[in-house]
């Protein structure tokens, strides 16, 4: 199991989330959690021929993003998922995630990935079923679809359950590929190209443009 929020986490939530005005100064994660985030990110984007997520400073970036750019339910899901991952490590390997090998970390994240895919799919299937049952189009109207010509208006995205693995993966990719290391070492970055060539031969080893 391991779904319970740890005491420290709850404390952090009470401090940071119940008073949004102080959020930018408050901390959402303790040092141990920050380390966990950093190591998870480094499994998602590891060091290969170029440095990985940890070297690119993606851990602190993810912590900042979850604090600043996500609503409270996603923050809670994130912290809960992070704690659950740590519990999982202790259950399975009798050690903290920080102490297990990269292979063991990958094993845990692979399992989490599969669970996340399955849960997301189940949610989507349920949503499709609900959509199919909607016969009265007026019922689909939301606050932003108020009384307009509903068939042309954008449909509000159905509210989906925030999931730890999806969030940390998204933020790792964003944080890494927009980092200086990610953009310049893993990808190819030119600050001021100065011209556009629409058709050049792809050179061997050419990285994708950042």
């Amino acid at each position: 199991m391991g779904g319970a929020l740890s005491a420290t986490t709850i404390g952090v939530f009470l401090d940071s989330c119940n008073s949004p005005s102080t959020k930018t100064n408050g901390k959402l994660f303790d040092d141990n959690q920050l380390k966990l985030i950093t190591e998870v990110a480094d499994i998602i984007i590891p060091t290969t021929s170029s440095p990985g997520a940890k070297a690119a400073g993606v851990g602190p970036f993810i912590a900042l993003m979850v604090k600043d750019c996500y609503p409270e339910d996603a923050q809670k899901a994130f912290v809960k998922g992070l704690d659950a991952l740590e519990e999982q490590s202790k259950d399975q390997f009798k050690k903290s995630f920080l102490e297990i090998s990269p292979a063991e970390r990958t094993q845990l994240l692979s399992k989490l990935r599969e669970e996340t895919i399955a849960a997301t799919k189940a949610e989507q299937d349920k949503q499709k079923e609900a959509d199919a049952q909607k016969t009265d189009p007026d019922k689909a109207k939301s606050q932003t679809e108020n009384a307009g010509f509903a068939s042309i208006l954008p449909k509000d995205k159905p509210k989906t359950e925030p999931r730890f693995f999806s969030i940390i993966r998204d933020l790792t990719l964003l944080g890494y590929f927009t980092s200086e290391i990610g953009a310049t070492k893993a990808m190819a970055y030119v600050d001021i190209p100065g011209r556009y060539d629409g058709c050049v031969d792809l050179k061997p080893g050419q990285k994708v443009w950042a």
């Binding site: 932003t144 010509f149 208006l153 449909k155 953009a183 600050d191 556009y196 060539d197 629409g198």
Partner: protein
């Protein structure tokens, strides 16, 4: 006291007042000052100085704290601006705080606004297309709206004039429905686009064409401004001055005359009507920092406060003679609101170009001009649509597993992947009388003004058009050998295209229109309205170039009338 008042009035008197400093207001300021008039240019927001105040223009991706994303706190302050992608960390300060300037959505309308010198000319998409007689005649032919009081020959020299100054790059095509202009060299299509162009034009025997986007980005140095550096960061403001904006182009020209006074933080609340002369004699300004009220006077007033900003000002300028808004004897002021509908098309994967790549970030795409309801083509809707789109090669690989991670995934993500080609339609919407705005006195903005209520929707004609917009895109891509073609219709709310037009339309007849063929108010001869509010129909082309041409034309007429003593 009376002496003081006289002196204050003299100090606050100019030849012309221009309300708003965006694309059309900047042009009005340039033209009027160059013709020798002392001009007061009023801008409701702060000043943004060219280059110096483009605070994010040279930042690298990793220098943005949230890498472009907006925070929950920013979302809270921007409930409208946050609805679509233009509002991002990259130019966050260019967009309004929605709580300062609320409006009432009778139906959903996404109103994107930027209150600062330059207005949306700083963030605009820069696509610049001429209207043709097809567009100017549509209202008359199918009976929607009223007839445009001008034809292509009236505006063509003014398109030439503004294009030569603004610098529009593009390809001459000889396509009558999308007239050629005074172009700088075109940007290059990439190899997939070139192939798709050839196949579409072969298959439809040039009854459909594809051209490189005509854009207000300089492909060569022009008028003392640098050429495009292919960074694709335009909407932050360009440190090279390589695209047309008020700051890069019209404002320096106006300043150089010595005839311009620019006053930021000047929210124009009303236009003052003088019943003796039957003309406007000036404006009432609310200093948007101090909330102090000041009057300014002039012989002519150009209203360029953006489509709905200008119409709000006119509706708010009531008098015994004009109880329903200045120059609103027709009752048309506020009506016939239009926007383009879009977010509908198709895309797919291009094969056979795996050994090719691109260099540089081209801030431009391709354009397929309207071909529907032209010649013998007749659809179950009227008017038509054009496509914007393009091909690109990113890091998308078909064989990447869902939610993949790890070393192999990282390698894939950093290796050039599949070429993708997409086409997205921009459709004309009709000028429906019932699509309208009016003043809602139940709310107040930050400056104590009432607000606008917006009651606008797309209707049956637009919906039918979208079927073609989607299916034609797929058909053309498939005919071009594109694989795995997928159609999409992501829905479109009025306002989203940021091409809002109409609400103070031009027309022949003072009984059914607000402005005459010179953008002059039928009923108040020294007031000219030359922004998007003047539009009699929307066509499907991006409209800003037409505002520029109409503005320069109206300025020429206004100064000539002023000299003749007619106004």
């Amino acid at each position: 006291m009376s002496n003081l008042n006289t002196k204050a009035t003299a100090n606050n008197t100019y030849d012309a007042i221009v309300v708003g400093s965006g694309i059309s207001g900047g042009w009005a300021a340039k033209e009027l000052t160059e013709k020798g008039l002392k001009v007061l240019l009023l801008e409701r927001g702060r000043n943004i100085e060219h280059i110096k105040d483009y605070t994010t223009a040279t930042k690298k991706p990793w220098e943005f704290e949230h890498r472009g994303r907006i925070t929950e706190a920013q979302k809270e302050a921007h409930p409208v601006q946050k609805r679509d992608y233009p509002y991002s960390e990259f130019n966050e300060s260019y967009w309004v705080n929605d709580h300062d300037c609320p409006y009432t959505e009778i139906k959903r309308f996404d109103w994107y606004r930027g209150f600062h010198v330059g207005g949306k000319s700083l963030m605009w998409g820069r696509q610049s297309y001429r209207f043709s007689d097809l567009n100017f005649e549509d209202n008359l032919k199918d009976g929607h709206g009223v007839d445009w009081p001008i034809r292509y020959k009236d505006i063509a020299p003014w398109y030439d004039y503004v294009e030569k100054f603004a610098g529009i790059s593009g390809q001459v095509e000889g396509w009558p429905a999308l007239p050629d202009g005074q172009f700088l060299p075109p940007m290059e299509m990439n190899c997939v686009e070139k192939d798709v162009k050839k196949r579409i034009e072969d298959k439809w025997k040039k009854s459909r064409i594809m051209t490189i986007g005509r854009t207000a980005n300089l492909t060569v140095p022009h008028g003392g401004r640098g050429s495009c550096q292919y960074r694709n960061l335009c909407s932050r403001g360009c440190p090279f001055g390589a695209y047309f904006s008020t700051q890069s182009s019209t404002l320096p020209a106006a300043v150089a005359t010595g005839n311009l006074t620019l006053r930021p933080f000047s929210l124009v609340n009303t236009i003052i009507y003088d019943k003796e002369t039957k003309k406007a004699k000036g404006v009432v300004v609310i200093d948007s920092e101090t909330k102090e009220t000041i009057e300014y006077f002039a012989k002519i007033v150009f209203v360029n406060g953006s489509t709905l900003g200008s119409t709000f000002l006119l509706l708010n300028s009531t008098s015994a003679e004009f109880p329903d808004g200045l120059g609103n004897g027709s009752g048309q002021l506020g009506h016939n609101l239009m926007d383009h509908h879009f977010r509908c098309g198709a895309s797919g994967r291009a094969e056979g170009f795996d050994d090719k790549y691109t260099y540089g970030r081209r801030a431009n795409g391709i354009y397929i001009p309207r071909y529907r309801n032209m010649g013998n083509d007749k659809r179950d809707y009227v008017r038509g649509f054009g496509y914007q789109g393009g091909a690109s090669r990113g890091n998308w690989h078909a064989d990447v597993a869902e939610m993949a991670f790890g070393a192999e995934f990282k390698d894939q993500m950093t290796t050039p992947g599949a070429w993708n080609m997409g086409l997205g339609g921009f459709g004309e919407s009709l000028p429906y009388f019932e699509n309208r705005v009016y003043i809602d006195k139940s709310k107040k903005d930050k400056w104590g003004q009432p607000v606008l209520a917006i009651d606008c929707e797309f209707k049956d004609n637009e919906q039918k058009m979208r079927v073609d917009m989607m299916n034609d895109a797929a058909e053309m891509l498939e005919a071009s050998g594109i694989k795995d073609v997928k159609t999409y219709d992501n829905g479109s709310a009025p306002g989203m295209a940021i091409h809002e037009m109409g609400t103070a339309r031009m027309g022949h007849d003072p009984k059914t229109s607000v402005l005459n063929k010179w953008n002059q108010m039928h009923e108040v001869k020294n007031v000219f309205v030359t922004d998007g509010s003047c539009m009699t129909s929307a066509a499907c082309q991006n409209p800003s170039l037409t505002y520029m041409a109409l503005t320069a034309r109206a300025c020429d007429f206004a100064v000539s009338e002023l000299k003749k003593g007619n106004i």
